[in-house]
């Protein structure tokens, strides 16, 4: 992960929940697959400790947004996570809120660029 591209602190404030729910809405995955999907899907622009995703998964599971199924792979226990109906509802609400925030911030930023002298 490039340190120039990555920005610390991006992986906070509801972003991990949104990414996890969106990815698991496509297909069920275990933790490592999910983390790889986040890294590849964001082109490694988000900086987060890989291990910190698991506590978030456990919280979402506890809240009933995810379900997990344990399986034994090579003598080790692995959990495969899938989204629940409640999780899908939460995803829809979070996605709407996220788009609204992005649109609002974008509006301000575009306005600021437009105000600068010499920029049309």
């Amino acid at each position: 992960m490039s340190s120039q591209q990555a920005s610390r602190g991006d992986f906070i404030n509801g972003v991990p929940e949104l990414l996890i729910l969106a990815l698991l809405d496509r297909e069920s995955m275990h933790g490592y697959q999910l983390i790889r999907a986040i890294v590849e899907g964001t082109e490694a622009r988000l900086d987060f400790p890989e291990g910190s995703v698991y506590p978030v998964l456990h919280r979402l599971e506890r809240e009933g947004l995810l379900a997990s199924v344990p399986e034994l792979v090579g003598g080790r226990k692995r959990f495969t996570y899938s989204i629940t109906r409640r999780g899908r509802q939460k995803l829809e609400a979070s996605e709407e809120r996220w788009k609204s925030v992005v649109a609002a911030v974008d509006q301000i930023l575009r306005g600021r660029v437009g105000d600068e002298p010499g920029i049309a």
């Binding site: 490592y32 291990g51 698991y54 456990h58 959990f79």
Partner: protein, 242 residues
Amino acid sequence: MNPASPESLEVRLLEQGLPRTYVRRLLEEWESHLAARSEEQMRAGAGEPGGACLAGEATDWGLLGPPARLVETATTQYRATRWAGRHPALAFLLTPMLLVCAGWGVLAALIVALVSHPERGSAMSGLAAGLPAQGLTGDRFQLFGGLVVCLLAILTTRFLHARSGQSARWYRLALVATGLVAFFLCIRLVPPLGDSPGSLVVRLRPPDSSAQLLGGLLPWLCVAWCSTRDRLMPSPPARRTS
């Protein structure tokens, strides 16, 4: 101890007050994550020189992230899903104290109600009428009541602590607060049994008998026994020697 080893992470997570079952699952998943990462790197590096070296690096627990940040995230995320984790002051100070007061009140009211109505003739009131004759005095009730409400409060606090993911500091604070309330109740509020049954008496003087003193001190003895020796606390695991 290696700062990014499973042993050190386990100790640090348990020190934060996270339940052992939760910590075990986290460690299992982290271990599985590193194994999957290692397998992927071995596959990727199979045809390249230095591939084995890459695989060795993948089993480094430091790849999961800085231990302090992992512990912080795990603790925050766990506490966010528990009422006692989100509101520790309410859970650890108010709840046990209210429970002590309620427990003491119920016990005292039960004894007073039973003793003041012996004429009803029920089995319970007959039993209650005989309590003074059996030697159940107000002082002895304090001893019994103190023990019951304190045990109730300690068990409740322990229950809350086991599920909240809060540190031992809150647990000890709750025990001390509970002990204070129980001490006050045991010393000041006595249901008289014998001379003038049927009412609660608020004593405004120091304990005047050894049983009363012991009844007042019992909560403190329980608190001291539990908190100083950590008998009811989850203990950190012994260091692995493998």
